[in-house]
């Protein structure tokens, strides 16, 4: 249900800055290294959360905390080495919150299969779209306006569904999030490739959140649809 998002105006100013190929490759390499480290760290905190049998409200608390850090602290901290600490704090919190959701799914009869399927699906979507964006000759930064408009619509629907609690709306929002986050993977990867994104911490944060949101949304869709 909850989806943190890093897309502040500072990070995504539509300016085309073409860096050198060497610099671009360095940003790309650092982004994927930091992404792997943060995903691994999230997995560790998720396991700790599961071992401690955290209740489901911990997820909401973690997401709210991570969103606040992502909106107010990370954009400034990312300009220095402090940003690495902040991104580990954010991803650690998100992983901890995710652990409480995974515990809930594990209690379902087909829970382990749903989690494994969502994990595999997320990996396939991320690897496929990243590979596509990296090898494609096209620049996907034209998607910016469309993706931000879509995000605003989805956020409004999410706010409504916090209080309405409609399963059909939750399903529609999850489907829209998967498509939007897939678009963001193309958009972010393309921006790194073209040299428009030079901050690997913010680049990692954007891609991490896309992966996290795809995984959570897939879990929700498979949880609802696999209930028959």
């Amino acid at each position: 249900m909850a989806n943190p998002n890093p897309f502040s105006s500072n990070q995504y100013a539509p300016t085309a800055r073409a860096g050198s190929a060497l610099e671009t490759n360095k940003v790309l390499k650092n982004t994927y290294l930091l992404l792997a480290a943060t995903l691994g760290f999230s997995a560790v905190t998720a396991m700790i959360s599961m071992a401690l049998a955290m209740p489901s409200w911990v997820y909401l608390v973690s997401v709210i905390g991570a969103m606040l850090l992502g909106m107010f602290v990370l954009p400034r901290a990312a300009q220095s080495a402090k940003g690495v600490g902040v991104i580990f704090l954010i991803t650690g919190m998100l992983g901890f919150g995710l652990g409480s959701i995974l515990s809930m799914y594990l209690a379902l009869p087909n829970g382990p299969s749903i989690i494994a399927t969502a994990f595999g699906g997320t990996a396939l979507i991320f690897l496929g779209l990243s590979g596509y964006a990296l090898t494609s000759k096209r620049d996907f930064s034209f998607l910016g306006g469309f993706l931000f408009a879509g995000m605003m619509v989805v956020v409004v629907a999410m706010i409504a569904n916090i209080f309405l609690n409609m399963p059909a709306l939750a399903l529609a929002v999850s489907g829209a999030i998967i498509l939007l986050m897939s678009g963001f993977i193309l958009f972010d990867t393309s921006r790194i490739k073209s040299g428009a994104e030079t901050n690997y911490i913010m680049a990692t944060y954007g891609i991490y959140l896309a992966i996290f949101n795809i995984f959570i949304s897939l879990l929700q869709i498979l949880g609802i649809m696999g209930d028959e």
Partner: protein, 61 residues
């Protein structure tokens, strides 16, 4: 507790809308426009994602 968390989550999401608005406006006004074939290059992989999700749903049913 749960109602308080719901209100807090809604508050943070509303705050996010205020963060998204300038980015949306800037991209609408100054962002690059799609060229011929660009949308097709996006729709195809996204259709692949939709297909994959459908396959995953069938796998867990």
């Amino acid at each position: 507790m749960e109602l308080f968390l719901k209100i807090a989550a809604a508050g943070v999401l509303i705050m996010m809308l205020f963060f998204l608005w300038p980015a949306f406006k800037a991209w609408q006004e100054n962002g690059p426009k799609a060229e011929k074939g660009d949308w097709q290059a996006v729709v195809l992989p996204l259709a692949g994602v939709v297909g994959l999700v459908i396959v995953l749903i069938m796998l867990v049913r």
